[in-house]
């Protein structure tokens, strides 16, 4: 009895033990494998699998560009990995660049991060000038400059840009006794002071309780972006405290807030979206092409035909992206070809027609998809022509690696001024102390 019981027991116990070891070993090896790099070989001339990392609704896949490329190049298979927020995407990209592993063959880079990439990390990226097939001549010069390193390497090809106009509500302008025609409104906005004067007329005459502009931060962004030097000087040093652009923009924003012209929103917050949907403000001071997507998304059915785009007194660029090819990739040749094709004028024009991402390629601006483009939500607004005209006036900006942090903190200072009742001096002091802390190594 006893022995039989044992013989029955033994194997099962051994099995359990083996199992336990097995499970532990599998889990442990899984942990270790996470640290390893995966080098899948790309054959020459054989089938190639390309991966591309993007963020948000980047549009390549949505506009059918991958499918088109795979039809043209049957040996290529493209897989996209998309992360919804750039903030999360860039963190992952930074970590992977630092480890030089886990990178996709092609990676998107937002303009806010491009200075970081052309700086310390530029060695991790492929230099497009080394590839003869890649034509970089069709891009807007300032766009190309942004992705060029000090020693002339081009590490990113531009996808889209964000040339700005001023978006305004036609119906609210009419109610306040202001002209609503695009040409006439554009003529009113001779400079930013004139823009605020129109605001005072609007505030005095509007029958409802709509405000003139969504936020003081929006005014700041619109004004400061027209200056070549904003947060960094041309020597690449942080200089926001002495910058003429920042000072002018700050003063005008404070003026707008103190005159009660602003709805004191934080752009892109839920409250801002509701305010946009409810017509709580009449203008968006810095309104790039992609902002029309937000207007459409929040405005819904009720908002069809209410908005129009006037010319900005100082058009500038807000947003836009690049694609780059990491050096660590195993299919660099093919990846470079794909990146060049995706950013070629024809594809950029298609992306604009399908997704409203405005081309960074000057050659694309000549194509009928752009010149004849009108917006069906704004109804018959010739957005192609409006934004092409704006794109021509965009200054070449000095951009620095910490632009985003600086701008975000200045915007926060304006929120504190608008919502928490700080004076202009108090708000500015708070910006400086926040930034001293944020920028100190």
């Amino acid at each position: 009895m006893r022995d039989r019981a044992r013989t029955i027991h033994r194997p099962s116990r051994r099995t359990t033990r083996v199992l336990a070891f097995g499970v532990a070993a599998t889990l442990a090896s899984g942990l270790l494998a996470g640290c390893g790099s995966d080098d899948d070989e790309g054959g020459d001339g054989g089938d190639v699998e390309l991966t591309i990392g993007v963020f948000g609704q980047f549009g390549f896949e949505e506009a059918g560009l991958y499918e088109e490329y795979m039809e043209l190049n049957p040996h290529v298979t493209i897989t996209q990995d998309s992360i919804s927020e750039n903030a999360d995407y860039i963190q992952q990209l930074r970590t992977r660049l630092a480890q030089n592993s886990g990178l996709m063959d092609v990676q998107a880079i937002e303009v806010g991060n491009i200075a970081e990439m052309t700086g310390d990390l530029n060695g991790r990226w492929v230099d497009f000038t080394e590839y003869e097939d890649v034509d970089t001549g069709h891009f807007l010069p300032w766009k190309l400059d942004q992705a060029t390193t000090e020693d002339g390497r081009i590490i990113g090809l531009g996808t889209d840009i964000g040339p700005t106009g001023i978006c305004y509500r036609k119906d609210l302008f009419e109610e306040a006794g202001l002209p609503s025609d695009r040409e006439e409104v554009s003529a009113l906005f001779t400079d930013w002071n004139a823009y605020l004067e129109v605001g005072e007329q609007f505030a005095a005459n509007t029958p409802g309780d709509a405000d003139y502009v969504d936020s003081a931060g929006g005014v700041f962004n619109a004004v400061v972006s027209a200056y070549e030097e904003r947060y960094y000087n041309s020597a690449g040093e942080i200089s926001y405290q002495d910058s003429e652009g920042v000072q002018t923009a700050w003063d005008l924003s404070v003026q707008a807030a103190e005159a009660g012209l602003s709805d004191a929103q934080q752009q892109f917050s839920d409250e801002w979206k509701s305010a946009l949907a409810n017509g709580a403000f009449a203008t968006i001071a810095s309104c790039p092409a992609w902002m029309l997507g937000n207007i459409r998304a929040e405005g819904g059915e009720a908002g069809v035909g209410l908005w129009d785009v006037a010319q900005s007194p100082t058009p500038s660029n807000w947003g836009g992206s690049f694609v780059g090819v990491p050096e660590a990739g195993s299919n660099k040749e093919e990846a470079v070809k794909l990146a060049a094709w995706l950013t070629a004028p024809e594809q950029q024009a298609k992306l604009f027609a399908e997704r409203g991402s405005f081309p960074s390629s000057a050659a694309a601006h000549e194509l009928p998809e752009v010149t004849e483009a009108t917006d069906d939500y704004l109804t018959d607004v010739p957005i192609g022509q409006i934004f092409t005209a704006a794109a021509a006036d965009i200054p070449t900006q000095v951009i620095g690696p910490r632009d985003q942090v600086i701008q975000e903190n200045i915007t926060n200072g304006l929120v504190a001024l608008e919502q928490q009742g700080l004076s202009s001096e108090e708000a500015w002091d708070s910006v400086v102390s926040q930034l001293d802390n944020a920028l100190a190594e």
Partner: protein, 350 residues
């Protein structure tokens, strides 16, 4: 934490393996008694087998518990120590491999860091205004639920549902409720002619808003813990108390509360740890890592996140993480001392 002997099950030192050890020996003896002759090879084999048995008995328990410790070492201990190591360096998130030794500078600069103290203060005040009402309400609710009542199971489940929702979902809904222009709370205030409150912008109002999410989410959980403890209180005590003419309030004060003391201490400790690490609610209230334009509700966890992942200073963020860790240990020691003192003053063995 608590030194309640009744609830702590002392681990059996030699464990459940001992009886099996005996059975192994008996097995070997009985095999020898069977009187068969053994060749040298067989003996050797038996010897080896018995050695295997011994090792099996001796070491396999360690193998069985090892996964936990391997995992703890890999994802608990190692990060903790590595964070401490990183805190001694200047590291940028843009290039985490480039570490420059700075010693304790990251810690010493925290003394002069107004934003660190601001975050610490906020963590403390939010901790107080979320934990105190939460536990008080939980105690009251548990007392009510402890009575015989219809549908008590329904109420118990209903109380636990907030705990089962995700922080993100709950916070987004609360953020909409607390909206300045389109929030439901300001709308309700408007109905009774009270001026709208800019919840997110004010220091107290925003901290109250964050706390309310915590309270909403955790009250039910604590209620159930109290309820379970209350049901373990012998009914005779209440019976004799009511025979002596004690009112329900007196019963609650003189029977329920003393009986629940270890449980209350447990919930206070757990809530304090949760409050110190508060992160998701303040992050999602306005969807920014600043905790408000003036950092008016930025907690320590949020400040660490901002420093490391937005301002890119990983070394400084690591120092903040360690400061939080040390803070929790100090709080733990204080609670431990308090429980000892409370136990002694009641004449109990501490």
């Amino acid at each position: 934490m608590t030194t309640d002997h009744a609830s702590a099950a002392p681990p059996d030192s030699s464990g459940g393996a001992a009886p099996r050890h005996d059975s192994g020996k008996t097995g070997k003896k009985s095999a020898k008694k069977s009187g068969r002759d053994f060749s040298a090879r067989e003996l050797k084999q038996a010897e080896r087998r018995s050695r295997w048995y011994r090792w099996d008995l001796k070491y396999s328990p360690y193998a069985f518990v090892s996964p936990f410790f391997i995992f703890f070492a890999a994802i608990g201990l190692f990060p903790l120590l590595y964070t401490g190591w990183a805190a001694m360096h200047q590291v940028s998130l843009t290039d985490p491999n480039q570490m420059e030794w700075v010693g304790f500078e990251n810690f010493s600069r925290l003394w002069d860091d107004e934003f660190f103290w601001n975050a610490l203060r906020n963590t403390f005040t939010i901790g107080i205004i979320s934990t105190v009402p939460q536990l008080a309400m939980a105690l009251g609710l548990a007392h009510i639920l402890n009575y015989k009542m219809r549908g008590s199971m329904f109420f118990r489940v209903a109380l636990l549902t907030p705990y089962a929702t995700s922080i993100a979902a709950a916070t987004l809904v609360f953020a909409m409720l607390y909206g300045r222009d389109y929030g439901m709370i300001n709308w309700a205030l408007g109905v009774v002619n009270i001026d709208p409150v800019n919840w997110e912008a004010g220091t107290w109002s925003s901290q109250f808003a964050v706390s309310s999410i915590v309270i909403w989410r955790w009250t039910g959980y604590n209620t159930l813990i109290y309820l379970a403890a209350m049901q373990a209180v012998p009914n005779d005590l209440y019976e004799s108390a009511s025979l002596d003419g004690a009112s329900r309030w007196q019963q609650f004060r003189h029977i329920t509360i003393p009986a629940l003391r270890p449980t209350i201490i447990f919930t206070v400790v757990v809530s304090t740890i949760g409050a110190t690490q508060l992160f998701g609610e303040p992050l999602l209230l306005a969807g920014s890592e600043n905790g408000g334009a003036q950092s008016q509700y930025q907690t320590l966890g949020l400040y660490m996140y901002e420093t490391g992942w937005f301002n890119l200073h990983l070394g400084r963020a690591a120092a903040i993480a360690w400061a939080m860790f040390v803070l929790l240990i100090i709080i733990g020691l204080i609670y431990w001392l308090l429980t000892r003192l409370v136990g002694k003053s009641n004449g109990e063995e501490a």
